[in-house]
Amino acid sequence: MPYPEMMIKPMREEVTRLGVEELRSVADVDAALADANGTALVFVNSVCGCAAGMARPALAKALQHEVKPGRLYSVFAGQDLDATARARSYFGEYQPSSPSVALLKDGEVVAFVHRHQIEGRHPDQVAALLTQAFDSHCA
């Protein structure tokens, strides 16, 4: 069941102020991801404090890296249900989890950071996973 929007708004803004475009509808997702050319990051946001509370700062730190994906998007799991389900349809055989981060290149997932890789880790450690993927696939 979605949380009240007033509780979610700061979590959305913590991501969008990084220059990440939030996708709130199926149409938004298709418009963003149907064009498979280049690299695109999709951050699956979440209310979960224990994991998402690490994932958002990790994303912020990773996006300070010199090498970054060409396009940056987010969906909000548990809130924007249809948009999240649609975004996951672009993730192939990768299982849904939130928070998580998918890196796509030419329409294929080339790196994925799952929730279980975020739980209990410092944001710097999660950011390192992301920047390694950026260096490997976005340079």
């Binding site: 913590e14 979960c48 404090g49 994991a51 509370g53 990768y94 994925f112 799952h114 279980h116 209990g120």
Partner: protein, 93 residues
């Protein structure tokens, strides 16, 4: 807002993805919710049963780590007598 927890008062494994070895030989991967009198309650659980799964456990676990937990059970309680060792999934080799 970063670090805000909506579910205070739970134990330290709450929300953490763990691997639980069952006395039956089954292995459970999912998010720990709580330990109660009936057993361990988990969320989004994948279960490896060596009697029916064509993949050996190590290969199955490696697949869960690469592609994520392929949950078949949204909510699941592992009875006390079934629950064995508990390890965090991110520490699994």
């Amino acid at each position: 807002m970063t670090g805000h927890v909506f579910h205070p008062g739970h134990d330290e494994l709450h929300g953490v993805t763990v691997v639980i070895t069952g006395a039956s030989g089954r292995t459970y991967v999912g998010r720990w919710h709580e330990r109660g009198p009936r057993g361990i309650t988990m969320r989004d659980v994948a279960i490896h049963d060596p009697a029916s799964n064509p993949l050996v456990l190590e290969v199955w676990l490696a697949k869960q780590q690469k592609f994520g937990v392929a949950a078949t059970e949204k909510h699941f309680v592992i009875p006390i007598e079934e629950a064995g060792s508990v390890r965090r999934f991110d520490s699994f080799p």
